[in-house]
């Protein structure tokens, strides 16, 4: 068991020991940044509405590399998502890449421990891209993930490869005995013309409070296409701060869907860096906090190069005493002329104690751009409820149908059918809609 203060000392000692590896420098730098900045407080502009500091009040249990695996293959098989058993699986146990549980079933894709990738033929890619997201995050929590970096994974999708199945990234936390602090780390590289679907899911086993600080960086080369589905349907004792950082370095596309249904505290940073001309990115989000849940989505589109297109639609349904946060930053650099960037955020508050903070943030330094943004906060449409009731549908079911309708255009963005149907089921279950198909 450790406390956040002696994590620094432990890492400082570790990184001062003899020996050299290619990750040492970046970890050193990150550790210094962590020392300077610490865990963000709500005084930090980017963390104004999301209080993570209290998650660090308790003793933290950091996983140990090479420790005995706390689960068996059968344990994990039982937790698979639809389609996962046939697909490629990248499994992290307590934040550590588990070679034993990870399986590649498609050709053209490879998983290598990050520490090895940093030394072998992938070294130039790792050097060029690992840690690129830290430029976008001035807080110590993100830095700590890099400083601590061990047992990360590197995923390579070869030139022109189109793996026939998605890559499931499964983060498993063992929260049966101790308060876990997990820091999974992953770098994904899509070579030119490669195509990859990623499905990213967190599973907490056990009832002890558990915190994940996850960083996934992805590099998308010329004519490649990344689809990224982030699914958050975890236990009520689990909290997550995640950064998904997608960097387009050649004319390429991405499609990202983030669905957050459960979790005590969820903070998602999604960065789309359009670092080549004619890139296109679509981002969709659905968040449905309940009880005392807190779900925060911070998105950033950084238009570095001209002629890029981005479109963003996030929808939230807040019930009970829960809170939602949406912050959508669009950054258009001076040379990024002819940028097209659209953003929309729509919220429904289901209870007087629920709340949402939504803020578009446009910082535009080029003059020839098209940007638009809009946000709405409202309640369920009473006229709509009455209309459905007048057709024999009960009030509760009418509300559920309206909410389902509200969520539908986000769910439709989930292209893998097995996953979409599964999400539909989860949402129908949440809305207590079971009898008919919608």
């Amino acid at each position: 068991m450790e406390n956040i203060d002696n994590i620094y000392e432990q890492l400082d000692k570790e990184l001062s020991m003899n020996g050299a590896d290619n990750l040492r420098e970046i970890r050193r730098g990150a550790l210094e940044k962590f020392r300077r900045t610490g865990i963000p407080t709500t005084r930090h502009e980017e963390w104004k509405y999301t209080r993570v500091s209290s998650l660090f009040n308790k003793q933290l249990n950091l996983p140990v590399s090479g420790a005995d695996l706390p689960f068996t293959r059968e344990d994990l098989d039982a937790l698979r998502l639809p389609g996962q058993a046939e697909a490629n699986e990248l499994v992290f146990i307590n934040g550590l890449y588990s070679a034993a549980f990870s399986v590649i079933r498609s050709s053209g894709i490879e998983i290598v421990p990050l520490a090895i990738a940093a030394e072998n033929e992938y070294a130039p890619i790792v050097k060029a891209h690992l840690g690129h997201s830290s430029k976008y995050h001035e807080d110590g929590l993100h830095a700590l993930n890099t400083a601590w970096l061990r047992d990360g994974a590197f995923v390579s999708v070869k030139k022109s490869a189109v793996p026939e199945h998605p890559l499931y990234i499964i983060n498993i936390a063992d929260a049966r005995k101790q308060h876990q602090f997990l820091q999974p780390r992953c770098l994904i590289h899509l070579a030119a013309r490669a195509v990859l679907q990623v499905i990213d899911n967190n599973i907490t086993i056990g009832n002890v409070d558990c915190l994940t600080s996850q960083v996934v960086e992805a590099v998308v080369e010329e004519a490649a296409f990344l689809e990224y589905y982030k699914l958050q349907h975890d236990a009520p004792n689990s909290s997550i701060v995640s950064t998904t950082h997608i960097r387009h370095v050649g004319k390429s596309n991405s499609h990202v869907v983030t669905i957050s249904l459960d979790g005590k505290l969820v903070r998602n940073n999604l960065n789309i860096v359009l670092d080549a001309e004619h890139c296109e990115s679509h981002m969709y989000g659905l968040y449905m906090p309940k009880g005392d849940d807190h779900i925060d989505n911070h998105t950033l589109v950084d238009n570095v190069k001209p002629h890029c297109f981005s479109n963003e639609l996030y929808k939230g349904v807040m019930s009970d005493r829960s809170t939602g946060v949406f912050n959508g930053k669009i950054f258009v650099r001076q040379q990024a002329q002819k940028t097209n960037a659209y953003q929309s955020n729509k919220n429904i508050l289901l209870s007087p104690e629920a709340s949402v903070n939504t803020k578009p943030q446009l910082e535009i330094f080029a003059d020839d751009v098209k940007c638009s943004h809009g946000c709405t906060i409202g309640q369920l449409d009473e006229d709509g409820i009455f209309y459905l009731r007048s057709r024999g549908i009960s009030e509760d079911m009418a509300r559920s149908l309206l909410l389902h309708g509200f969520a539908t255009d986000i769910l439709e963005q989930i292209k893998p059918l097995a996953l979409r149907n599964y999400m539909e089921e989860l949402i129908n279950h949440r809305l207590e809609l079971k009898e008919y198909e919608y």
Partner: protein, 251 residues
Amino acid sequence: MLSIKNLTANIEDREILKGINLEIKAGEVHAIMGPNGSGKSTLASVLAGRDHYDVTGGSVEFNGKDLLDLKPEERAGEGLFLAFQYPVEIPGLSTINFMKTSLNEVRKYRGQDPLDAVQFLKLMKEKMALVNIDKTLLSRSLNEGFSGGEKKRNEVFQMAMLEPKLAILDETDSGLDIDAIRIVANGVNSLRREDNAVLVVTHYQRLLDYIVPDFVHVLWNGKIVRSGTKELALELEERGYDFIKNETATV
């Protein structure tokens, strides 16, 4: 079938319905006409159970039941149907799925088994033909982006699916061209039976050429001030409402 006695209703403390009396028997067609703002839609909404109107007095009996005591969905189950003057747009819910839910919920209320997919589609095809509505429209989100005429035809389609005992059509003819009016009227007429009834709210005589009423009522300032046969509609068309206003003013 429907017996309204001395019904009064407020919205936000303003009295809109000021003592309505109306009897509708099985097999009859009644028309309500009246100037804008006279309370026609308010009456229709109160009958359907819209809760932002406060019923302050009177009673409504529907097939022996106290209608005002029922929830809107129960009223639908009992066989009441309101075709809305302004049908509501419901994003993300297709008309087909909506109708499947609606029909099966109503059937459940009536103690009938739900229709399976095959039976439902068969019924739907039949009713679609009746109002000349096509499937692509019904696969889209309910009323969203529908033209005025499409919305109205969709209302009649829903009515045809649910086969109500009492259908209230609130200006279902407004905004329709003459062909569409004929289609809507045919739809309504083909559903007429001895054991059901229709209440048509309209501003225009021309709908009544197709759906011929047994009785015509004039609603003015929250009251039915005149009742007659279909000739009354013709008279209103010729002379406007003013002659009635003048008459009632002198009463």
